[in-house]
C-alpha cells in the first residue's frame, strides 16, 4: 500500500517582521515612559476615585513616609534654593553661598532647620528617607513644617503654586494633621493629596451623576 501523499509544506513562519514590530514598540515605550529616578523617600500612595492628573509645574510637595517623617520638595531647583535661603534667614541659621548652591540640587529637604548646612553636604548615599530625621512635626509647639511653609509662602508670593501632600498609606494621621495645621497657619487653604486612581464603584451616586452629565 502506498502511503497517502502529504504535501510537505514547511510550517516555518518568518518571524523577522514580527520581531521588528515588537522591538519598534518596545523602543517606543521605553522612550515614552518618563524615567523616574528611584525615589529616596519611598511612599505608597493611597487610592482615590479622582482621575485628575496633578499639575507638574510649580509643585510644592510635602512627603510623609510610612514612619510619619516629613520631607519637603519643590519641582523647580531655583525655588529650592530660595526657600532654603528664606527659611534659614527666618530662623537665624547661617548658610554659606556654597551650601545654598548645593541646596539647589538637593532632591528634597528632611532635617531640622538647624542641621541644614550639614544636610546639604551629605553624600548622596546618605540621603535616604529612612536615614534622615525628617522635618520635625511632633506637635503644635515643635512644628518646623510651619516655618518651611512660611518660607514657601514668601518665595511664591503672588505667583501660582500647587501644593501637594504625598502621604504613605500607612503613615499615621497625626503627622498629616501637623502638616495640614502648618498649611492653615500660612493661609494655604487649598491643596491636593497625591493618590493612585481607582475606578468609580458602579451604581454609586458619583457614577450616576457622571452618567447624567454625559447624557446632557
Amino acid at each position: 500500500m502506498g502511503r497517502p501523499k502529504i504535501s510537505r509544506k514547511s510550517t516555518w513562519v518568518d518571524m523577522t517582521a514580527f520581531c521588528d514590530v515588537a522591538f519598534l514598540l518596545l523602543s517606543f515605550f521605553i522612550m515614552a515612559t518618563k524615567t523616574k529616578p528611584p525615589e529616596a523617600v519611598s511612599v505608597v500612595s493611597p487610592t482615590s476615585v479622582s482621575s485628575k492628573a496633578p499639575n507638574e509645574k510649580d509643585m510644592v510637595t510635602v512627603i510623609i513616609n510610612q514612619n510619619g517623617k516629613v520631607f519637603l520638595t519643590m519641582s523647580e531647583p531655583d525655588r529650592k534654593q530660595q526657600v532654603v535661603e528664606t527659611v534659614a534667614k527666618n530662623k537665624g541659621v547661617s548658610l554659606s553661598a556654597s551650601d545654598l548652591a548645593k541646596a539647589k540640587n538637593m532632591e528634597f529637604f528632611g532635617t531640622p532647620i538647624t542641621q541644614l548646612s550639614s544636610f546639604v553636604n551629605l553624600p548622596a548615599d546618605k540621603i535616604k528617607g529612612d536615614l534622615l530625621p525628617g522635618i520635625p512635626a511632633v506637635d503644635s509647639t515643635n512644628n518646623e513644617v510651619t516655618d518651611w511653609m512660611r518660607a514657601v509662602y514668601e518665595v511664591y508670593y503672588g505667583e501660582t503654586m500647587n501644593l501637594f501632600v504625598k502621604g504613605d498609606v500607612n503613615s499615621k494621621y497625626p503627622a498629616f494633621k501637623q502638616v495640614v495645621d502648618a498649611f492653615k497657619k500660612n493661609e494655604m487653604m487649598k491643596f491636593s493629596i497625591i493618590t493612585n486612581s481607582i475606578a468609580v464603584p458602579k451604581d454609586s451616586e458619583l457614577a450616576k451623576e457622571a452618567k447624567k452629565e454625559n447624557a446632557k
Binding site: 515588537a22 522591538f23 515612559t33 482615590s48 479622582s50 502621604g167 487649598k190 493618590t195
Partner: protein, 191 residues
C-alpha cells in the same frame, strides 16, 4: 531575511529522518526573541500606566475663634465618622451619648457607604453634614478612603475635625473589641 543560504536544493531525495543536505542553513529562529520583546513591552506598558499619580483636591476651612463665623450644623443632619486603628471605623448620628454610647456603632469600609447614603436620603440636603474624626492611630490610607467615600457618595459638606477625649475612649474600646474578634489582627504569639 533571517534565512540565508537557502535555495539550490531540491535535487536530493528527501524523506522523514533524512537529513536535508550538508549545506549549512543559516536560519535563525526568531520566536524567543519575539517573546522577549513582547514581555518587555508588556512590562513597560504596565509600569508606565500604573505609576501615573492623580491628585485629590482638598479645601480647608479657616480656623476661627469667633462664634458667629463657625460652621453650624444641625444635630439631626450630622453623621460623624470616627477612625480607629487597623482600618476600624465607627460612626454615630447626631450627638454622641457619652454616658452610654448607645449610638456609637462600629462598622467597616464596605458598610459605611450604605450608612452615608441612608443618612443622606433621610435628611434635608441643606442640613446634611459629615464630620470625619480620625483618631491618632488611624492611617493616612483610611483618611483618604473616607474622604474618597465623600466624593463617591457626592457629599457636599464634610469636615475633618479633631477627635475629642470622650470619643477617643469609645474608639479605643471599640478597637480592643474589634481586635479580639478578628483573628487576622489579634496578636499571634509563636510558641
Amino acid at each position: 531575511m533571517a534565512d540565508l543560504g537557502e535555495g539550490g536544493g531540491g535535487h536530493k531525495k528527501q524523506g522523514p529522518g533524512v537529513k536535508k543536505s550538508k549545506k549549512k542553513m543559516v536560519r535563525v529562529d526568531m520566536t524567543p526573541m519575539v517573546d522577549l520583546g513582547f514581555i518587555l513591552i508588556t512590562f513597560f506598558v504596565f509600569t508606565s500606566t500604573m505609576s501615573t499619580p492623580t491628585a485629590m483636591n482638598l479645601f480647608l476651612p479657616k480656623d476661627t475663634e469667633k462664634d458667629n463665623e463657625q460652621t453650624k450644623t444641625k444635630e439631626s443632619g450630622t453623621l460623624t465618622i470616627l477612625l480607629g486603628n487597623d482600618r476600624n471605623i465607627y460612626y454615630y448620628e447626631g450627638i454622641l451619648n457619652t454616658a452610654t454610647g448607645e449610638n456609637f456603632v462600629p462598622t467597616n469600609f464596605d458598610d459605611i457607604r450604605n450608612v452615608i447614603l441612608k443618612k443622606k436620603r433621610s435628611t434635608n440636603a441643606d442640613d446634611f453634614m459629615v464630620v470625619i474624626k480620625p483618631g491618632p492611630e488611624s492611617t493616612m490610607g483610611s483618611v483618604v478612603d473616607v474622604l474618597d467615600e465623600m466624593t463617591i457618595n457626592v457629599v457636599k459638606r464634610y469636615a475633618l475635625v479633631d477627635i475629642s477625649d470622650a470619643e477617643l475612649n469609645f474608639v479605643k474600646q471599640g478597637d480592643e473589641i474589634q481586635s479580639g474578634i478578628t483573628p487576622a489582627s489579634s496578636g499571634t504569639t509563636p510558641q
